[in-house]
């Protein structure tokens, strides 16, 4: 179970991790400044296993993989959003940050709600409001990618099996 941190629509990568911190790329450095420009002291409050919730087009803007890396390194278990920007979506799957597309859950979950998710089945449960949701399922290829833990283990695994 994790606590939900809620953000709005069109959360861009400059908000997730501002460019001024891109002069280094260690996960700890990026985690310390995650969501800094959203002005909610998120990085100080978040705990391992918590959940991030966004509106539509979450992660728009730059291609910086530093964005999902910073979220993952903060301890966030999963990002639930109404929809994801293309490069962020790809980057998250590639680095093994679980994401779930579920417009109903994303709009109904409030900041501070206690939420549990089952990433393998796509079920989301809001313990605070006692409501259940079902996220959109991923195409088979992406499920494989997620199961492998990201793009590199996926490619390496395929090479071994070849």
């Amino acid at each position: 179970m994790g606590i939900a941190f809620k953000f709005g629509h069109d959360i861009d990568t400059d908000v997730i991790i501002p460019a001024r911190y891109l002069n280094a790329s260690t996960p700890e450095h990026l985690a310390a400044h995650c969501m800094e420009d959203a002005g909610t002291s998120f990085a100080q409050k978040v705990k391992a296993g918590d959940i991030m919730v966004g509106g539509k087009n979450f992660g728009c803007g730059s291609s910086r993989e530093h964005a999902p890396i910073s979220i993952k390194a903060c301890g966030i278990k999963v990002v639930i959003a109404e929809s994801f920007a293309r490069i962020f979506y790809r980057n998250s799957l590639n680095i093994g940050l679980p994401i779930m597309e579920c417009p109903e859950a994303a709009s109904e979950i409030s900041e501070g709600d206690e939420v549990t998710v089952d990433i393998s089945t796509g079920t989301i449960e809001n313990k605070t409001t006692n409501k259940q949701y079902q996220a959109r399922s991923f195409p088979p290829f992406m499920q494989e990618l997620i199961r492998a833990g990201g793009l590199i283990p996926y490619i390496e695994g395929r090479k071994k099996n070849a």
């Binding site: 069109d10 861009d12 400059d14 908000v15 501002p18 460019a19 001024r20 891109l22 002069n23 280094a24 790329s25 420009d37 002005g39 539509k56 087009n57 728009c60 803007g61 730059s62 291609s63 910086r64 993989e65 530093h66 999902p68 890396i69 929809s83 920007a85 293309r86 490069i87 790809r90 980057n91 590639n94 680095i95 195409p139 290829f141 990201g150 793009l151 590199i152 490619i155 390496e156 090479k159």
Partner: protein, 421 residues
């Protein structure tokens, strides 16, 4: 089966006769690009593959442009890390400071992006190369690492959207930037999410290559996977003397499937300004007139090409930058800078009171060389005006083309060029 140009390029590189939107494919890459911010992450990921050598040292471009010339010690370490990798792997297209430029101005100029190519870059504005008829898209560092190792990437074939610009009677000073801001204003920042944006019509055909690069550069600002303009005589003329490989000529079939077709008349599109904090907040320049500003930035991969600088110089010639304004000019590449010098453009800009920089991304991403303080406002020819993009989270960026930027520098407030001519 009929296909769009985007589908044809993807099919060809996947070794398939046809592809359909939604299909997942693995495709071969013609060029793989990274910069000083994204390459270090990718190189560390690359090290996790069992391979020691990159797939092809001639098909990789590494450009130190974001925080280069090195802005601080940490940036210097990142640039060094990329440089060491480039030397060790004998990367042919590594561009050192002094010979480099902003990647999306530099690679087409060097003839590295050709029609029909499939290109990935660890930079979201990689979509710029669609202006020469390539399929080019931004990816993250892990995709990049896989590309470096295998020369391949996975793609979901995007649905295509077609934008037809009719007519050739552009309003005075209107250019590619105004067309694309106007379009993003209509579509919204996720209006083309996951889609291919194809630009067509006499309006596009009438535009120079510099203006076409500006349009495709900002496809990502509507959420698109790629922007593309079918090659024509202007494209071929541009590639003359640059292209060192032959390239296929691919065009959308007349009955290709589009999920949407939108049509515009260029004569109805006025000069644009996108208000903070989103490129979709596009309005006519008239509506922005009078907003007090502190800084004007002309340059970047969006509008740092020769015609952009020429347009600015034409407006600034014989005039002075307002005493309370800092005008910063960032030419896209060394070649653009030298051409602008030879033409007297740089002299005109400096005479007017501009600070002219060596090519770098600089303030575009709030990196260096022109960061905004709390409460400051800038007009910028760049492509993003997100919160904190150019500095303080309490600063503001208004996006515009070079004509409005130059006029605003003279007036000290956002201005239509008519107000200063």
């Amino acid at each position: 089966m009929s296909m769009t140009i985007t589908e044809k390029i993807l099919a060809q590189h996947a070794g398939l006769d046809e592809v359909v939107p939604g299909q997942l494919i693995t495709a071969k890459l013609d060029l793989v690009l990274a910069n000083d911010i994204t390459a270090p992450v990718a190189i560390k990921e690359f090290a996790k593959f069992g391979t020691e050598k990159v797939f092809d040292r001639h098909k990789i471009a590494l450009v130190p442009d974001h925080f280069a010339p090195n802005k601080d010690i940490a940036s210097a370490e990142q640039c060094k890390f990329m440089r060491d990798f480039a030397r060790e792997q004998q990367i042919e297209h590594y561009f050192e400071v002094g010979r480099m430029g902003i990647e999306h101005c530099l690679l087409p100029e060097q003839g590295l992006t050709l029609p029909g190519d499939l290109i990935i870059g660890a930079d979201s504005h990689t979509c710029t190369y669609g202006a020469v008829g390539a399929f080019a898209t931004g990816v993250g560092s892990t995709d990049l690492a896989a590309g470096l190792a295998t020369g391949e990437a996975w793609f979901r074939v995007p649905e295509s959207m077609k934008f037809i610009f009719h007519g050739t009677k552009f309003q005075k000073w209107v250019g590619g930037k105004d067309l694309i801001l106007y379009l993003i204003g209509k579509l919204g920042v996720d209006g083309a999410r996951y889609r291919a944006m194809e630009f067509a019509g006499e309006g596009i055909a009438a535009l120079s290559m510099d203006n076409r690069f500006t349009i495709c550069n900002m496809a990502i600002e509507a959420g698109a996977k790629n922007g593309i303009i079918p090659p024509d005589d202007k494209t071929f003329a541009y590639l003359e003397g640059r292209a060192r490989r032959s390239y296929p000529l691919l065009y959308s079939d007349l009955d290709a499937g589009y999920m949407a077709i939108q049509e515009f008349d260029v004569s109805e599109i006025p000069l644009q300004v996108a208000f903070p904090h989103s490129p979709e907040n596009a309005k006519s320049a008239q509506e922005a007139s009078g907003i007090k500003i502190d800084q004007v930035v002309i340059g970047s991969c969006t509008n740092g090409r020769l015609e952009d600088l020429r347009m600015a110089a034409n407006i600034l010639r014989g005039k002075k930058v307002h005493p309370e304004i800092r005008l910063l000019v960032f030419p896209g590449t060394q070649t653009i800078l030298r051409d602008a010098m030879r033409e007297g453009i740089i002299d005109t800009l400096i005479e007017a009171g501009a600070a002219v920089s060596t090519p770098t991304c600089g303030p575009c991403l709030g990196g260096h060389m022109g960061i905004l303080a709390k409460g400051e406002r800038a007009v910028s020819t760049t492509n993003r005006n997100f919160v904190g993009r150019m500095g303080s989270v309490e600063s503001e960026v208004y996006l515009a083309g070079p004509a409005v930027a130059a006029a605003s520098a003279i007036k000290g407030q956002i201005a239509h060029p008519e107000e200063v001519s």
